[in-house]
Structures are given as C-alpha cells and as structure tokens.
C-alpha cells in the first residue's frame, strides 16, 4: 500500500503553477482563502514538518491547515516582525526560508519567481491582514469528473476542483490544490491534478486538499483487454456487484472451487474446525443439486458456530484476562456464547453491551466497560465504540481534527460525553468492577474547558431528562434501521471474516477518503442486515452461497494481482487457536487447559493470556489494540513448525490416532487417504499416493515415516492456510 500523503521532501518541489506573471493578486485579501492554501500546497504543514504536534524549530502550524486562525497567529502575531515583517518585507522569514535564501531544514519549497512567492509577498505588502471578518468562507470542494476507468496509458483525467464559498461564489482552485493517490501503483496524479494509469488494475482514490478542506474522488484503471467471455453471474446481489466491477476492470474471475475446498473452507470460516473424514466422504459423494446450500444450513446449525463467533468478537471487544481478570473473561465468554448460540440479533447484542450495568463477573456484558480492573474512561469508551460499532477510527480526533475526515475534536468529545455517566463503585472483590451511573458527570472539552455536549455521533445533542442514562437513546439511535454506521460496520466485519478483506479496509476505518471497493454492495449488505432483524446468520448465508465466496484461490493471468476485487478466493492463515485445534483433531490428542475445564478446544479458551508458546508464536490476538491479526509467517513460527514439540508429542502419543493406525489392520494406502481427508478434505491424487507409498516402503520404521508424513502435512501451506 502506498502512502496516502505524497511527501514533498527536501529536494522535490511542487510544480510551479501557471505563469506567475499572469496571475492576478486578490484585491481583498483573506488569509484563510488565499494564504492558508499555500501553506498546504508548499508542504509547510505536513505532519513531519511544521504540522507536527510540536511544530519544527518553534514554528507550529495546524496540521494540513485546518485552523487558519492558529496559523495566522503563528505567522504574524506570535513573534511580531519575524516570520512576517510588514515594515521590511524582504526580511520576512516566510519569504527567505522556503526560497532557501536562508538555511531551511525543509529545503527549497518554492522559488522567488513562483506564484506562491508572489502571493506571500503581495499579502505582506497589503499589511498581512487576516481578512475581513465577513469575507466568504470556504464551505466545500466540488470535484469533477465523476468515476470513470482509464483504459490506456496515454489517456488522462484532468481533475477540476472548485472551491465553493459561503456566499455562493465559486472558484476554480485546481492549480493550487494538493493531490495524492492512495494507490500509486494503480493511479498516479500529477501536482496539477492530472490522473493517469500507472499500470496495475483497479480503482484508487484521489485525495484533494485545499485550504483546510479536502475531497476525494475515485477512478479506475485497467490496461487489460476486456475479456471476450465472462461467466454469467447468478442472481445474488453479491455476485451481481462483484462481477459488474470485475467486468469493468477486465479481470476474469476464477472458477468455482472444488467440493473439497468448499467443505474445508466453510468449516474453518463458520466453525473454526476441520471437517471430519466421514462428513467429507459423504459430501464428496453426494449428487444433490443443492448440496452446497444444504451444507451451509447444516454447518450454520452446529454448536461450534457459537464458539467461533465468541472468539472473533472477544478479539474485537478486547476481552483480556489482565483487564477483566479471570472472572471477567469467563463471564464475557459465557455471555457472548449464549448470544451466538441463540443467534441473537446484532442490534440486541450491541444494545446489551452499550447499556450494561452491574458487576462484571456476574454480568458478562458489563465487561465492555472494563479496563485495568476498573472502568474505562469516556475517552477510551469513545474510541472503542467508534471502532467496534461505528466502524470509525475516531481516536485520531482526540488531539486534533482528523486529518482525512470530517471528524473534529468536538465530535470526539461529544461522543465521549455520551459515556461520561458511567462510573465505578467499589466492590468487595478488588478485582471485579461494578458499573453504575453518576448522571451528572461530564467530560471536559480540553480547549473550551467546558463540559462537552453529548451528541449522537455526527448529529444532534442527546436531549433527555437530566438524570437519565444517555447510553439508552444512544443505543436506540445506533441500532435504528436508518442509522448509516452500525449496519455498514457490522456487514463489513462479517464480510471481512469470510472474504479475508473488508469492503472497507481496515474494517473499522470508514471515511470519505477511504471508500469501499464496492460501495453499492456494502450498502446492499447493510440493508440485508437491517431488513432481516440484524440476523448475522442470514447475512453469512447470503455471502457463502454466492459464487464469489466459492471462487477457487487459483490464479489466472488477469486475477493474479487482484487483491481487492474478489476475482479469486484470498487465502487466510488459520488463527492460532484454530491451528492448535486442527492439530489436536488430526492427531486425535486433545489439549487440556489447566484451570479452564470449560475449554475443550483452544478456540473455547476465555483466557487470551493462557501461557502457551504455541499460541503466542502463532499470533493469537493480544487484544490490547483492536486490529487484525498479523498474518505473515515469522522466523520464530517457522522454527516452531520445524522443531516444535507439540506436533511431535501428539504424533507419538500412545492414545493418539497415529498410534492407533500403526497398530491397526489398515494398509498404508488407507492411512494416507484418511490423513488426507482429515487434513485437506480430499483424497490424494494417484501420483501423490504413489510417491508417499514409495517412501513408506523404503523406511524400515513404518511408524517413523508415517510420523514424518503427518508432520509434513500439518506444516504444509495447503494445511496452514484456509484457501
């Protein structure tokens, strides 16, 4: 992934705008409209320069120019006569440093003959005014043209950015805006806003910044020839949307996966366990036309569904034995499992968590509010609620207005204020917390120092009788049918869990400048959820019955480099707990978890800190931040694959499956077939079987060679990845 921001470092300049001599200087100066944009265009207020939290060399500007008043003060009034010198104009540092007349850590930003220089100089000549208080303010940026796909390298899209002011006036600011592509392997954009195809296929977002405002546009690029033949999409909204995009980009989807791949994938995705050989044999042999749909129904009905959902949600909710203590994680797991075993609607789950009260060892849902065996601060709850239920990383706005989104610091504190009434009453048990309400407790806005007004996120103040629990109307608002956040956030997570990538990625980072790859599909999935009572199983059913979900992971020429448009299935690494359980299943040797009798599999373990090198090295979630598990394979993992004692121990276990097979009447061929069915949900190809049988024949110690083969299988890519 490429940098969203184009870093303008020391020696690269923004391209000079149109002939500076021809540029007419404004008659009525407005700092916000004329000078502030230059600070952004010239790169002065980037986060690594003067826009950093501490500024640079004592000169601090607002990040990306969000606060023109602050910037004006920093330039003009903070140290009078220094950065801007009205009496001795050429002494002004703002003219000397960026032109490298004086040494400047940021290098050359513009030349003396540039428009930027002339603007600064003209403005200082006019007395460096802030501008008339009634001067029109910039309200938004309009961007043209709308979405289209570039199909040749020679083609270009010249972008047009229009500033719209509060008095209705419009101005073409295309030449002074700052453009950046969020994927410059797909689209490049010149400093003048001309978009060209860079080579890779797909859509990319172009972010435009001007005068503290920003806008985003999405275009596509595909240098691939439009395919002559394209498979027809079955009548499922997922396939309709996915295939429409693939067709537009010229990416040919993979074929449908084999039955073996389907049953294995479905089991891992829905249950977190491998299918039993008996189930695999039955499924492979079935000739029913709708056997896959039937398998979906059977699988959704199994108890392991609730276990896996509990684990996935525990990750996102950060259930942690250090924060919530043993009593807390136990109750949290128990409560979550009850919800998913009953297929409780997601809105009810959200509501229960958000309006919880009482002691957390007894009330699992109260754990939502816990942190370090006390109550989370309103700030922490705001960040968590933002990510988990709104799909928004509001945390950036805690300290400054969000750089790429419309969220302001006020929005952040107004969200935190929703949760400020929740306090802790001490319990007899020092490790447990008891949450109750102190209705008048407030959160102070750090700048105004006054109580922040609690608001529905991005909306109206929460207006209820004093003394009532604000979380209740907030939960009502969140889960109402036309709330644009909740259904989309939930749908996106369900999609990501099945498809390896969210329609918005990262899943909890929805913003205008991070658009979904398939906006209409995300909306459709959100509508499916809210129209069907927020029934998660309904949505899962819809997705896994699509052809898109059932694509093979094999690549072809056009889908080789597709990582976003679902032209093929994206393999996922088995979660640490699932991998541990899979090994236990194949070898027939279960794991025991001291002090956790309720956990018969690692996926059922409430304690995410249960001492286990295996789980640590395979990256079980640390749950200290909400983020996706790391999926790259590290050296420590690889070493553990090769030499780890668990697999060896289970293979040699006297009551293990391998021992049973070796001393049974089964032939080597039967054993190999059984192992393949357990591990890969398929039978070995004849050549595979022959090769392995040859090996077995060569080694006198039959047990040893079978162990080596099982070892090879459980460490192979085909096993370790869910594909």
């Amino acid at each position: 992934m490429r940098p969203i921001l184009e870093l303008l470092l020391a020696v690269s300049l923004p391209v000079a705008a149109a002939d500076p001599a021809a540029y007419v200087l404004p008659k009525r100066w407005s700092f916000a409209n004329h000078i502030a944009p230059v600070l952004t265009f010239a790169g002065c207020n980037q986060s690594v320069c003067h826009g950093s939290p501490v500024g640079k060399n004592g000169f601090k500007l607002s990040l990306f120019g969000y606060e023109p008043e602050v910037d004006y003060a920093a330039l003009v009034t903070a140290v009078p006569g220094r950065r801007v010198n009205v009496g001795n104009i050429d002494e002004s540092l703002i003219l000397r440093k960026p032109t490298l007349t004086l040494e400047h850590g940021g290098g050359l930003r513009f030349r003396k003959d540039s428009r930027e220089y002339r603007l600064f100089r003209g403005w200082i000549e006019a007395g460096a005014p802030f501008g008339h208080p009634e001067a029109p303010r910039l309200t938004r940026l309009d961007v043209a043209p709308p979405y289209r796909v570039l199909r040749a390298k020679a083609r270009a899209i010249p972008m047009k950015v229009t500033a719209v002011y509060s008095d209705g006036s419009r101005e073409d600011v295309s030449g002074m805006a700052v453009y950046s592509s969020n994927d410059d392997s797909v689209l490049k954009v010149s400093p003048r806003g001309v978009v060209t195809a860079a080579g890779a296929t797909g859509d990319a977002g172009i972010m435009i910044r001007y005068a503290g405002k920003f806008a985003a546009a999405v275009y596509g690029a595909s240098l691939l020839p439009l395919p002559a033949r394209f498979p027809a999409a079955p009548a499922n909204v997922v396939d309709r949307e996915v295939y429409a995009k693939l067709r537009e980009l010229g990416i040919v989807p993979a074929e449908v996966c084999s039955d073996s791949e389907f049953i294995r994938r479905l089991h891992l995705d829905l249950l977190g366990v491998l299918p039993e050989p008996a189930d695999v044999r039955r499924f492979l042999a079935s000739t029913a036309r709708d056997k896959r749909a039937q398998l979906v129904e059977e699988t959704l009905a199994r108890p392991e569904y609730a276990d896996l959902q509990t684990l996935l949600w525990a990750d996102r909710l950060r259930s942690d034995s250090r924060f919530h203590r043993v009593g807390g994680v136990r109750s949290y797991f128990k409560w979550l499992r009850e919800q998913f075993a009953a297929n409780r609607p997601l809105d009810q789950i959200a509501r229960a968590l958000l309006t919880a009260s009482g002691q957390n060892f007894a009330n699992g849902e109260a754990n939502y509010w816990g942190n370090y065996d006390k109550i989370s601060t309103p700030i922490e709850t705001a960040i968590q609620t933002g990510q988990v239920f709104l799909g928004v990383r509001i945390g950036c706005a805690q300290c400054h207005n969000h750089p790429f989104e419309k969220w302001t610091q006020d929005d952040f504190y107004s969200l935190a204020a929703v949760f400020s009434q929740v306090v802790e009453f001490s319990t007899k048990n020092a490790q447990e917390f008891d949450l109750r309400l102190e209705p008048n407790r407030a959160v102070l806005h750090p700048v105004s120092k006054k109580a922040a007004i609690p608001r529905y996120f991005g909306g109206e103040p929460i207006d209820i009788e004093p003394g009532l629990d604000r979380r209740v109307p907030f939960a009502d608002w969140l889960t109402s049918k036309d709330n644009s956040y909740f259904a989309r956030a939930m749908a996106n997570v369900v999609w990501r869990n099945l498809m390896a990538r969210g329609l918005v990625q990262p899943v909890d980072d929805m913003r205008d400048t991070n658009p979904p790859t398939h906006p209409a599909l995300l909306d459709a999935l959100a509508r499916e959820l809210s129209a069907h009572n927020f029934d998660q199983k309904h949505l899962i059913r819809l997705i896994v019955n699509s052809r898109t979900y059932q694509h093979s992971s094999r690549v072809n020429e056009t889908n080789r480099l597709d990582f976003k448009y679902y032209a093929r299935s994206y393999p996922k690494r088995m979660m640490a707990e699932v991998y541990m359980d899979a090994i236990a299943r194949i070898t027939g040797v279960s794991d025991r978890f001291k002090d956790w009798p309720e956990a018969r599999r690692a996926a059922q373990l409430p304690d995410n800190r249960y001492p286990s090198y295996f789980l640590d090295v395979f990256e079980r979630s640390n749950r200290l931040v909400i983020c996706d598990r790391e999926e790259s394979v590290t050296i420590s993992q690889a070493l553990h694959f090769v030499n780890g004692p668990e697999v060896q121990g289970k293979m040699t276990h006297p009551e293990g499956r391998l021992t049973g097979w070796v001393y049974s009447a089964r032939t080597d061929g039967e054993i190999i077939e059984e192992i393949f069915l357990s591990a890969y949900a398929r039978r070995p190809a004849p050549s595979e079987k022959d090769r392995l049988l040859t090996r077995v024949a060569k080694i006198p110690d039959r047990r040893e060679i079978l162990e080596d083969i099982v070892w090879g299988i459980v460490n192979s890519k085909e096993f370790v990845f869910n594909h």
Binding site: R393, S553, Y570, A638, D708, S716, K717
Partner: protein, 427 residues
C-alpha cells in the same frame, strides 16, 4: 518458573519452555561526519521494567532528609565527581565509559503500559496502533546478512513497546529466552527428542514436495512470507554459526562467573556474544523494578547486585574486546520513582525526573549530563525529553533523524517527533 507482576498486574509472557539455546572528543557535527565512514553500529538495550529508582542508583542525594534519601549511600567511582549507589561497585569501576543522564523527563501517562511504550519507542503511545521499538527501527535500516537474526530479545518483555509495531512482525526481536537456565538452548533450533538431523532433512524434503505441489496466490504476502521464513529457519537450524552464537556454554566459566550466574548476568553475556557475532540489536528486559513496597530490600537483595555485576562486566568486556566504540549500550526504565519513601518502605512512580545510562557507540564516557534538585524530584538543568533521548540514540546508531516509515495504510510516521540529540553526550 515464577511469574513476575508489576503493579498494573502485568504478567510476563511465558515465552520459554526448556528446550534442548569511545569516540572521544568530537563535536556533534564532527561526530556525525565521522559516522558516515565508520563501521555499522550495534545496539544493546537494557530495560529495567517497572521503573528504576534514580535516587538509589545514579542520582544519589545524601543531603536530602532521611525519608527521601533512603537507606543507601553514594560511593565514588573511578571518575572524580561521579558518584553512584554503594551497591553498584562494578558500575563504579566502568564509570569512565558511562554517560549518565540525570535529567531525563517524561510525562505522566498513567500506567506502566503507556510509559513503557513511550520509552521503548520514543513516541507517545496512541490507542489504536503500536509504534516500533528502537531496535526494530534500527534493524529495518540495515540489510541483514547471514543466518543470524538481526534483532534478538533476551529474557522476557513485560509491557508492550518492545516489538516492530506497525513495521510488522518480521521486525520483532527473535526471542532467545533466559540463558541462565540449566541446559538452556534457544527454542526450536534443535529438533525434539527422537528426531535426528537425518529425519529433519527427510521431513524438509517431504514438506517441499507437499508445498511444490500446491501453488496458490504466491503474490500474497502471507503466503509469500512462508517460504523465506521457513528457509531462514532451516538455515538457522543447519548453521553452525547460529548454533555457536547462541551456545553460551562455549564461554569460559570465568567469564560466565564474571557476569554473574543470574538471568540478567547471563543475558548480558549473551548480548555481548551476539553482538560480537554480528547481531545488530539486542534488547534485554529485566523485571521487578516496580518497588512500591520494600524498595530497599528489593534493591539490595534482588535487583542491584545482578544488574550491577552483569552491566559492569558487559561494559568492561566490550571495552576489552574493542567492541565498545561500535556498540551503543542504553540502560533505561519507563520512569523513575518518588523521592519521598512511602509507608511501605517503597517508592511510587515518578516520570518527571529520572536517570538513563549510556555507553559506547561514540558516546563520551566519564560524564554526567543534567541535574535534579536536592530531592531528585525536578530537573534543574539540561532537561532531556524522551524525544531527545530517542534522537540521541538514533544519532549514535547513524540513523537519519528525518527518517519516516509508513504504516500498511500509508500513514507516515517519523521515527523521532521533534527531539534533539544531546550534543554533550558525543563531545
């Protein structure tokens, strides 16, 4: 093996099971230009988890009232004007190589977790992402050669902040464990009992056959990373060089005794050994410093003797082997401790003022930088922020302070947020 907790309830992650493993005299600009020609530096980071009491170690205040100065007295070192705690005699012997920063100042972040992240990365922590530790940032800059991992971790970290963070798990330190344990070996370098090297090779072949037959989406990082990591793992397994580097038994008994037969002692010895063999960064985490109760007993009986012995031996050893000039050693914790002793004979958290010790890597030894008031409570001269410390570390290691790394989503993260390297440390 017992779990150790700090006051936030942090338990050490159980990584371990028993397996069968002076630039003298240059000004800062002069130093920086000399850097460019010099050899690659190595980095040893000695982390005192819990927050070490500065006024009982490097910043003694014998004239303070009894309930502040505590139980210990200062002693002179081999450098006139530098005194350290009487319980640190070996450290005193290498004072001529140490640069003691007494004016480090942090902010109260409310927890061990956040302060540990701050001091191990140099960046104020944020809720939704992890920044990269100094060692991780450093090894990302260096091309790694040979089978040895570029960054190794010794003993066990207590709080977050020690890893590669947003840079990715492949910049995490490779965890070596506790070399003082009987029959210690690095885990998983050696096959489990009953599996000979011949079988390892046979398994490798079988695995290769399975993997060659299965080709899917090799362009995906997660699948693509499998191959190189497995390859690196095998090269480590078969490499005598790696095996020897971690084989602490090869050190003469005398040397092992000199460092002390303790986790931190043997851990520091391993660090020296690894650095000698070409490992670029080693982090060692020593727990137990969160002395809210019985501060003096803990220091006297559990904490200072092993640290002092190991650290003193390390500095001396590096110097004698000619390694000190190219090895930056930093000893730090997440904050200091309260001047006023509490009712449990302990000290509580104190981020406002504390000490950090530096040595090697071009740092000029035999000096103290900065000072605190008579109670070791407030910095009175040369305040050094955490960002300044970070800048100093990266300067010594030769990393460009303007370096910017990117998160997977493309957000730029400067490695240093506005700090200035402490020039006096190099001159």
């Amino acid at each position: 093996m017992s779990l150790q907790f700090d006051c936030d309830g942090a338990a050490r992650r159980d990584f371990l099971r028993l397996g069968l493993l002076g630039l003298g005299g240059l000004s800062l600009p002069g130093f920086l230009s000399a850097q460019k020609k010099g050899a690659d530096k190595s980095f040893i980071f000695v982390w005192l988890a819990g927050g070490a009491p500065h006024m009982d170690m490097y910043d003694m205040k014998p004239d303070a009232p009894a309930d502040i100065r505590g139980d210990f007295k200062p002693v002179s070192t081999r450098v006139a004007g530098i005194q350290v705690c009487e319980l640190m005699p070996k450290t005193a012997l290498v004072a001529d190589k140490l640069c003691i920063l007494r004016s480090v100042t942090s902010v109260d972040l409310g927890s061990h977790e956040r302060s540990s992240r701050y001091l191990q990365t140099g960046v104020l922590p944020v809720p939704n992402m992890d920044f990269a530790s100094f060692g991780s940032v450093y090894v990302k800059e260096k091309a790694s050669r040979g089978a040895l991992p570029p960054y190794v971790g010794v003993l066990k970290p207590v709080e977050r902040g020690w890893g590669g963070g947003f840079l990715g798990a492949h910049h995490d330190p490779f965890m070596a464990g506790d070399p003082s344990e009987k029959n210690w070996r690095v885990r998983d370098l050696v096959p489990p009992p009953g599996v000979t090297l011949e079988r390892v090779a046979r398994r490798q072949e079988i695995l290769k056959e399975f993997n060659d037959a299965w080709r899917r989406a090799d362009s995906e990082t997660k699948i693509a990373s499998y191959g190189p990591s497995v390859e690196q793992a095998y090269s480590m397994i078969y490499s005598k060089e790696v095996f020897d580097a971690f084989d602490i038994q090869r050190e003469p008994e005398k040397v092992r005794d000199a460092y002390g037969r303790t986790p931190v002692g043997q851990g520091l010895l391993l660090a020296r050994r690894l650095v000698e063999k070409g490992v670029k960064a080693v982090s060692l985490w020593m727990g137990g410093w969160d002395t809210h109760a019985n501060n003096f007993t803990s220091l006297k009986e559990k904490l200072l003797p092993p640290l002092d012995q190991g650290f003193g031996a390390l500095i001396e050893d590096l110097a004698q082997r000619g390694l000190l000039e190219n090895t930056l050693v930093v000893q730090a914790g997440e904050f200091g401790r309260t001047p006023k002793v509490n009712k449990n004979a302990g000290r509580d958290h104190w981020p406002k003022a504390f000490s950090v010790a530096l040595a090697g890597g071009g740092i000029r030894g035999g000096q103290i930088i900065g000072s605190t008031d008579r109670n070791a409570a407030e910095v009175t001269s040369d305040p050094i922020t955490v960002e300044d410390l970070s800048a100093t570390i990266f300067t010594a290691l030769g990393v460009d302070l303007h370096r910017v790394n990117h998160t997977p989503e493309g957000r730029p993260i400067a490695i240093v947020n506005g700090g200035t390297a402490v020039a006096k440390a190099f001159s």
